[in-house]
């Protein structure tokens, strides 16, 4: 039993429905995004590279890769981040001392985010699921694969919201799972695979 995610880059249009769904579901504070979309193209978001009209652009959604060999857990001095048996790399805010060694160790820049100050929110009402751990000042936080939803038999919030049907999730050990079916027969890449992190996110190309 190992949770994994697949993202079909041919279908992804960079619409940000997944990043916003994540932000709402997890009541993320202002300027915190556990899931982001990078434009592989020009210098600014949503711009292509090349000379008009011979241009190229690709969108790359990035959240915690929930690595099989996570560099972050190895460096955490207080065991605030660790790997569960189902493959999810979790972050315990109560143990975290905000040293940010994990951020330095993680090769996937930006997936781990630090709440430098008291979390602030755009609206006064909390959003999302009340099973999400309350956000805290001076700790590191990141994608949980929506562990609180998985506990209820639901998929992570970013999956079902994808209007392009580009995101898949499930148990990679189960050939009948959505993620296994999505990967089957497809070429895929894993980000920075050469670093030996063995990410659980498959990018279908």
């Amino acid at each position: 039993m190992r949770y994994a995610m697949a993202i079909d880059l041919d279908r992804c249009t960079g619409c940000h429905a997944c990043t916003v769904a994540c932000k709402v579901e997890n009541n993320l504070p202002n300027l915190i995004w556990w899931n982001r979309i990078i434009t592989v193209g020009g210098e600014s978001p949503d711009t292509p590279k090349g000379n008009f009209p011979d241009l190229k652009m690709e969108f790359l959604p990035i959240n915690c890769q929930h690595c099989e060999n996570p560099p972050c857990t190895a460096v955490c001095p207080v065991n605030a981040t660790y790997k569960r048996e189902d493959g999810i790399v979790v972050q315990d805010y109560d143990k975290c001392i905000g040293c940010r060694l994990c951020i330095t160790a993680c090769p996937y820049s930006g997936v781990r985010q630090f709440n430098a100050k008291k979390p602030e929110y755009a609206i006064e009402v909390a959003m999302g699921d009340d099973g999400v751990a309350p956000h805290k000042e001076k700790v590191v936080e990141k994608c949980t694969f929506c562990a609180h939803r998985l506990a209820k038999g639901l998929e992570p919030a970013c999956i079902r919201t994808c209007q392009n049907l580009a995101r898949f999730f499930g148990d990679i050990d189960d050939p009948q799972s959505e993620v296994s079916k999505a990967i089957k027969g497809r070429r895929y890449v894993k980000l920075l695979d050469h670093k030996g992190t063995k990410p659980a996110v498959f990018y279908l190309t």
């Binding site: 949503d46 009209p53 241009l55 209007q163």
Partner: protein, 661 residues
């Protein structure tokens, strides 16, 4: 004056709802909306159905072998349709994108064909000419489903009818003449000739006539691929390839309101639908037009809205509203307008040539009330703002756009703070005006939902309150196996339900007294009319050499969601997107503050060098409010000048220049 647009399509609390009951009860007038009207004005010439009923259900895209996305960016503007295009592409359909910029849709298409802004009409005309010249037409389709074989009188340009020879003909029994090619004589269409001629010049009882197709064929000969290549900057071979690809039916066209935003937009739609009719690419499986799919449903409009027997209306289009308010007159006759109620509309932000609000509209109105759930530019300048409850705080009824469902909208929470459901706001005002009989006290949204559903026609369709309440969404057109194809059985025309290749009597979309004498005859056939402003032959082009478009943003629907905090983290501020070539020649770099300007106004904002922009095109994605600019606003630059037939804001038909400040 009621100023209503498309901010919410609810049949109770939205722009299709009970404001009409209120407006009619007090005898108010309503502005004629001039957004996105040209495409439908052009399609109406060919297949009827008015401005809105031209698109097929988007699921029909799955049957297409080729999809030409023309002047549209569905990845941003209709993402719910893009995923269907993507699925069709995955199944093997070839997707070709024609656009002035390399959009996110161009990025995902199999082929991107850049085009000069506003020249799409010439491309369609030249493709049509090529298709006819190379005999790529679908003759059986033309004979059976179009007016190609109808005969046109050379003396007056009217179709030859039974009534031309028999003045006693009951107008309902009138019929069209065609040329029976077996018997070699003119016959009435209803007589059911075995075969008809689509080409030829004939004399019928002393009247010289020719077939509609002959007329069209001779007319489009002037639009050569070479001429089109010169204007569109698409290579000749590419235009020929496009024409052949299109004619090899079934081919679908995906379009919306990009080309609509030029002063020749309706002529492009006219030309495109004529081309579809010549090639059998309409009203059949796998072909047609998709982009805006609207359904007409037999709701209780009359019972719910017509309290005084008629509908609030006016001959005042938004495009000339500023002039009418300023003059307090229409076409030389007094037309006093002193008070205005704006609802479901951020008119100040969405109507072209924004500065007329400051010079002409606001100074000449005594009283302006805005009902909205966002503090829009229009609301900021109003005398009174009434906070409307949001969609999720009211019950309502919806007939969907771009999908075939009628839906029950159920509120998730009660209205917050001072906001109220719009129907309640109208009711409270109406009761103070002594109109309690039309707006009784103490009724809820459900009362009005049930009133709208109270028709025999809906009951016959088994669309009832109880069913909608139970199922939430009910498919009311087509089936999942057979999605709805527009015009599959017949077209909504007065030409025996046929697609019209010739518009005998072209009328303006709205007649406010404009001069049509020079164009009425021309408009019978699609012809090339250059964009009104954004064209290289315009002397203004030397002063303002950039065509200015306002793309649909990923993160807004027109101006809606301009102040949603989460979206502002992703997309914090307006940007002027400039091609690398145009930026370098003006020494502009990404992040520089620039002024985009013309004689009508300006916008001061951050620049972004964006290689998606075709050199000569500058874009500021639309919908940002005035306070979000350093100075000015994106809508100050656009023009209120419209084509006299389409009477539509031609937002992209606009020239500007840009400089570093």
């Amino acid at each position: 004056m009621f100023d209503i647009a498309s901010g919410d399509y609810g049949f109770v609390n939205g722009c299709l709802g009970m404001y009409q009951r209120f407006a009619n009860s007090i005898g108010a007038s309503k502005l004629n909306v001039c957004y996105d009207q040209a495409t439908g004005h052009g399609t109406d010439r060919v297949i009827g159905g008015g401005v809105w009923l031209w698109g097929s259900e988007p699921m029909t895209l799955l049957d297409a072998k080729k999809i030409i996305i023309w002047g549209s960016n569905p990845v941003y503007s209709t993402p719910q349709n893009w995923r269907i295009i993507k699925e069709a592409q995955r199944k093997g359909a070839k997707v070709i994108d024609i656009d002035v910029i390399y959009s996110a849709t161009a990025n995902k298409s199999d082929e991107f064909i850049p085009i000069v802004p506003g020249s799409d009409l010439m491309l369609a005309l030249a493709m049509t000419n090529y298709i006819i010249g190379h005999n790529l037409i679908n003759v059986p389709f033309m004979k059976a489903r179009t007016t190609a074989p109808f005969l046109v009188r050379k003396d007056n340009g009217k179709m030859l009818r039974k009534s031309d020879f028999d003045s006693q003909t009951d107008p309902k029994e009138d019929d069209f003449y065609v040329w029976d090619s077996v018997a070699n004589q003119p016959v009435l269409l209803k007589s059911g000739p075995k075969d008809v001629a689509i080409e030829g010049t004939y004399n019928v009882k002393g009247l010289d006539v020719e077939t509609v197709f002959t007329l069209l064929k001779n007319h489009v000969k002037q639009y050569t691929v070479e001429k089109a290549s010169e204007l569109t900057k698409i290579p000749v071979e590419k235009i020929e390839y496009l024409a052949r690809t299109y004619a090899d039916s079934p081919t679908m066209v995906y379009t919306n309101y990009g080309i609509d935003h030029y002063q020749n937009g309706h002529l492009w739609a006219f030309a495109a639908l004529v081309m579809a009719s010549l090639t059998g690419n309409i009203g059949v499986k796998g072909a047609g037009f998709v982009g805006n799919y609207v359904m007409y449903m037999p709701l209780n409009y009359k019972g719910a809205f017509y309290t005084n027997g008629k509908a609030a209306t006016s001959k005042i289009p938004q495009t000339i509203f500023h002039q009418v308010v300023k003059d307090q007159a229409l076409a030389g006759k007094p037309y006093p307008i002193k008070a205005m109620l704006t609802f479901c509309s951020n008119s100040m932000s969405n109507m072209g040539q924004q500065n007329v609000w400051f010079t002409d509209i606001l100074p000449n109105l005594d009283f302006h009330v805005v009902i909205d759930f966002e503090l829009t530019d229009t609301a900021r300048y109003a005398d009174i703002v009434l906070p409307a409850a949001f969609w999720m705080e009211v019950d309502d009824l919806r007939v969907s756009y771009n999908n075939p469902y009628m839906m029950m909208q159920e509120k998730a929470i009660e209205p917050l703070y001072e906001s109220k459901p719009p129907v309640e706001i109208f009711g409270m005002i109406a009761r103070k005006m002594g109109l309690e009989k039309f707006f009784p006290q103490g009724v809820d949204d459900t009362y009005w939902v049930k009133m709208m559903l109270d028709t025999d026609a809906l009951r016959k369709m088994n669309v009832t309150y109880d069913r909608l309440k139970a199922e939430k969404a009910v498919r009311v057109q087509g089936t999942s196996e057979k999605p709805y194809i527009r015009g599959e059985k017949y077209f909504l025309t007065k030409s025996a339900g046929r697609a019209q290749l010739y518009a005998e009597n072209p009328l303006p979309r709205v007649n406010y007294g404009q001069d049509l004498s020079q164009i009425t005859k021309k408009e019978r056939l699609p012809y090339f009319k250059a964009p009104g402003e954004a064209w290289r032959d315009n002397p203004l082009f030397k002063k303002y050499p950039l065509v200015y478009i306002q793309e649909h943003s990923r993160y807004r629907v027109h101006s809606q969601w301009f102040n949603t905090p989460m979206l502002r983290e992703l997309d914090p501020e307006p940007l002027a997107k400039i091609s690398r070539k145009d930026a370098e020649s003006r020494n502009i770099k990404t992040g520089d503050i620039v002024e985009v300007f013309n004689d009508r106004g300006r916008a001061v904002l951050k620049a972004e060098i964006n290689d998606a922009m075709s050199p000569g095109v500058l874009s500021i994605p639309k919908g940002w409010q005035r306070e979000q600019f350093i100075k000015g606003c994106y809508q100050e630059l656009t023009s209120a000048t419209s084509d006299p037939m389409a009477v539509n804001f031609a937002y992209f038909d606009c020239l500007v220049d840009v400089r570093k400040v």
